[in-house]
């Protein structure tokens, strides 16, 4: 539970307010076929091509559950450190909409497959907090309505209809829009590590319903409003910021908040009423008579648990304990599965701290600057590793390595080749360095005299040697030789 830390409070006209957020994350299950039919889940097919007669709700069609979707839900539950229920029930959630041909969504209401769990969330400032998980249940996705293809008609594509979704419901443990985004990011990292959802928010495979209320610190929970189907981290933050201030203004003006579903409009960053109370949904849940209870044994759960990959929290702990990384570097590296994999490939058999510096520093910096995804990186982990090797074995200095890195990022060339072609090899030949040092000392007797008074002048000599050798001289050799000559 996160405390009402001062920094999270919002300032109203009449004093401080605390925002309370709970989230429902809808995560599309990664599977080949749908939850209750054998139609494909592939994104981007021709309209209604990935639809079986079950998904189209033709009369007489019966749902048969996809074993792998159940396994994926259990796996996700284990990743959320949650209780796995060996017996759960599918219910019908009834509502009427054109992209829901059954007239109901098969979901889980009273007895979900996964119960309470928790997620530890790291904030950019190095602090962390825990969000309780209320439940995770399996349900069908709806089809897609497209409203802008015709002036008076909506077009319906049922390709998404029946794809398995996991709805992950949090407890109201989130206290700011930044925390909400960080929580969403962490859940996305977990499902990506697990391979249970691709976490792609642009394609809609992950979306969030956000519940927001405000209260005076220490007071009981206020009345909440829900904003549905938000599909980006940025929009989640904007929606919470806007909604919290809207509620504060209403209460401070003497009004009260109506519990309602509101629509977040990403064009102007505002929320507005979506459904009035009279039209509020009444889902009339009841157990689906087409489906027996979903039952499995603990041995099967244990088997899935034994095959779980290393999750971000464990990886972070290992990076700190075994590799000696700082907690900050470790959390940056594990925040995304592809980042962690890239780093581990670079660090394999090398100085982990040096590898971490290069991955989080130059490499992530260059990716960010160019807006490049790590998957499309022009530099492979093996190449970055080879660059680290060149620094470790004193072939080049760290400073020259930055030059080499820039060329690598631009051309994708091997670091060794760049060093060779450009003649960037570090001069470790003490004879050459000695010659340079002698020359500088001979040419600057006044500076040498000055050095006897002010030892700080040493740096000036180092600079001169580097200048003469175009930065290629081994810094340690320069120091040693200079010291010997000047003090000797």
């Amino acid at each position: 539970m996160s405390e009402a830390t001062k920094s999270n409070l919002l300032q109203g006209v009449t004093g401080d307010w605390e925002v309370v957020v709970g989230m429902e994350i809808h995560a599309q299950v990664q599977s080949k076929a749908k939850l209750f039919s054998g139609a494909s889940t592939e994104f981007g097919a021709e309209p209604n091509a990935n639809v079986s007669l079950v998904d189209a709700a033709m009369p007489g069609m019966l749902p048969v559950i996809n074993a792998y979707c159940v396994e994926q839900a259990v796996r996700t539950g284990l990743g959320l450190k949650a209780q796995i229920n060996l017996r759960s029930i599918f219910d019908r959630k009834n509502y009427f909409y054109p992209d829901l041909p059954q007239g109901y969504q098969i979901s889980q209401f009273k007895d979900p497959i996964v119960g309470e769990g928790e997620v530890i969330v790291d904030m950019p400032d190095g602090t962390s907090f825990t969000v309780g998980i209320e439940r995770l249940h399996l349900e069908q996705d709806a089809g897609k309505s497209i409203h802008d293809l015709h002036p008076s008609k909506s077009y319906v594509d049922l390709n998404r209809s029946g794809i398995a979704l996991m709805e992950i419901v949090s407890k109201p443990d989130i206290r700011s829009s930044e925390q909400a985004a960080a929580y969403l990011r962490k859940v996305r990292a977990i499902v990506r590590y697990l391979g249970t959802c691709d976490g792609n928010m642009e394609q809609g495979s992950m979306r969030a319903d956000v519940n927001v209320s405000v209260r005076r610190p220490g007071d009981p929970l206020g009345t909440r409003c829900e904003m549905k189907n938000i599909n980006s981290m940025r929009f989640v933050q904007q929606a919470i910021d806007y909604e919290a201030m809207r509620q504060i203004e209403i209460i401070e003006a003497g009004g009260t908040i109506n519990q309602e579903t509101r629509l977040f409009d990403s064009r102007n960053g505002e929320t507005r009423t979506m459904r009035s109370k009279e039209e509020a949904h009444d889902y009339r849940y009841f157990p689906d008579p087409d489906l027996l209870p979903l039952e499995f044994d603990q041995a099967w759960v244990d088997e899935i648990a034994s095959g779980l990959p290393e999750l971000p929290d464990d990886k972070k702990a290992r990076f700190i304990a075994d590799m000696g990384l700082s907690p900050y570097d470790a959390s940056v590296l594990v925040s995304d599965k592809s980042r962690a994999e890239f780093f581990e490939a670079v660090a394999e058999g090398r100085d982990a701290k040096l590898a971490a510096n290069w991955v989080t520093g130059e490499f992530f910096g260059a990716l960010n600057k160019n807006g490049t995804a790590i998957e499309d990186s022009p530099i492979s982990a093996a190449q970055l590793g080879a660059l680290v090797d060149l620094i470790s074995d004193d072939t080049i200095s760290g400073k020259i390595a930055k030059q080499v890195f820039e060329i690598m990022f631009e051309t994708g060339e091997e670091p060794a080749k760049i060093v060779e072609d450009k003649g960037l090899k570090q001069v470790t030949d003490t004879g050459a360095i000695e010659a340079a040092v002698d020359e500088i000392i001979a040419a600057n007797p006044d500076k040498v005299a000055e050095y006897k008074e002010k030892p700080k002048m040493f740096g000036w000599f180092v600079g001169q040697v580097m200048k003469v050798t175009q930065g290629k001289a081994n810094p340690k050799a320069v120091n040693d030789i200079l010291k010997a000559k000047l003090d000797g």
Partner: protein, 95 residues
């Protein structure tokens, strides 16, 4: 348990079933007769009895994760009263 005409009107609307105003009263009566009849089950003592989900001892059938269906959009949309370019079309609905 019983329902009033207002509840019947509401349920009909939720199910998108058109019930004429003059049919609401008689339908309420009919539904209440059915509910009374079902209510008789309440006389049975079910203390400590698990809800029954099957009459024969059988388990939920599981399917493997293989694509075995779909790929026939023309069959899916064949009975659609209106359609365009592989889509179903309906009167415009925007929430």
């Amino acid at each position: 348990m019983s329902v009033d005409t207002e509840t019947v009107r509401r349920i009909a609307h939720l199910a998108r079933i058109a019930v004429k105003e003059e049919a609401l009263e008689p339908m309420t009566g009919e539904l209440n007769t059915i509910l009374d009849w079902v209510e008789q089950l309440g006389e049975v003592n079910t203390e400590g009895v698990e809800p029954m989900t099957r009459v024969v001892d059988t388990q939920l059938r599981w399917r493997q994760d293989e694509v075995t269906d779909g790929g026939y959009p023309e069959r899916v949309t064949k009975n659609a009263p209106d359609g365009d370019d592989g889509f179903f079309t309906v009167p415009k609905v925007v929430e």
